[in-house]
Symmetry: none
Subunit: 134 residues, 4 copies
DNA sequence: GTGGTCTAGACCACC
DNA sequence: GTGGTCTAGACCACG
């Protein structure tokens, strides 16, 4: 788990940790069942307070992303989204709006944006649509 | 400017205003030169503190999205990104990572995500790539 | 908000606070839109650390029970369960199993248990089944 | 004793064991005098540490639910509640409050809750009220 | 004044 | 050893 955290960014430190862990899982760098560093270890390597790491872990647990087992550690859970389909759609649309809005204001043209999207998509382990009968 | 603001959302109210205005511009609902409501008017219609609207306007101005002409009002500026290409690329990539990460954890498959992206893109006025010589 | 908290009980203090608030809402002592005491006020009256109250409030917010508005306070939200029907059923069944198991081991007979249930139900504002067409 | 234990649940493993054994007794799947598996056997089948099983057995013994006869094993004891009537009433009321509170927040209506209660009650061997003179 | 974040450090329950 | 809870106290963003 080699990554860093930047206290000067507007995102809270515990949120940065959450994002990074979810990102690693989404990219396949962490898989179901893998053990995460202990709260204390990660706190030591990031040079932050263990409580901050603990908060990130706990929130990830309530999101269903990881699962802590008392006394033995914290592990990557299997994907099983807890949000209702409606909320999921809303969330994706919100992110898309943000993306296109920023792209517009940075004067990015449609083609190069679509290029970036396709390139970036490759480094994530997105699932493939199930066809009827499979 | 008919929109609402939800004080119970985690996004700060002034950020919601900024996003909404930038989003309207990006969708073509507001164009360069259009006049925005006064701080007081917008505050009245959104039923919030005028300082909050003021903060949003001020930040949008430093971003170069709008411009205030003393005495005559606030207007939508023309697009002229102030960020360096490197920063722009970093920002887009950050948004893309967030998008794909969330999509993964919501168990969205690649095809339907790409579908949503294309559909949503249509409601934004993204520019077309400039060809050599144009 | 006159209630107390017992640090010697096995339930964590922040959980006791959560239960008590949810219980008051369920009994109609608190209604949608009502303002809860501020974090600092409640901490003072319960003679505990503000962080502990804050934790309870935050978790209640993620459960959708209350809603905090930055700068102005914390309010009772309207009921809108976030759990899937399957999880809800599982949770109720778990509570019922616990109830009947305890009742058995306390040698409580069925009739007096049912009596207690009916009596206790009266002090809660349980909704009435919607009939077809209503 | 075919049951499993889930280390990722918030309930401690030894508590899960206690609940499951008490539940089985309350449902009539285990009766007074029945022999429980040895600590080692149960630990092996549940794939957990023997100390954890030992802790559960020990606490069940102090509750009077089971009794250990050195050399011959552990057996289900006869029901003989050790709590005072006042404490028992308090405990039942606490469970009922929890039940109705959760039901309210899950928007469960009174009729279907009462239905669930009656259905679930059938799988437990609750005693029948002793009439005067019996 | 409101809640949110972070730290430092203590103590505890679990396995 | 693991994570979870709580305290005391500082600082910050929001409206």
């Amino acid at each position: 788990m080699l990554f860093t955290v930047d206290p000067s960014r507007s995102e809270a430190v515990y949120v940065q940790i959450m994002h990074e862990i979810k990102r690693r899982i989404a990219r396949g760098l962490l898989s179901t069942g893998d053990r995460l560093p202990t709260v204390r270890d990660l706190a030591r390597t990031l040079v932050i307070n263990p409580n901050t790491v603990g908060k990130a872990y706990q929130l990830l647990e309530t999101e269903g992303v990881i699962s802590t087992r008392r006394g033995s550690g914290t592990f990557v859970a299997s994907v099983s989204p807890r949000l209702s389909p409606a909320l999921r759609r809303e969330r994706v649309n919100r992110l898309l709006d943000q993306l296109f809005t920023e792209a517009y204001h940075m004067a990015l043209d449609e083609d190069s944006l679509m290029d970036s999207i396709k390139k970036r998509a490759k480094s994530f382990r997105l699932s493939v649509k199930r066809r009827r009968g499979e």
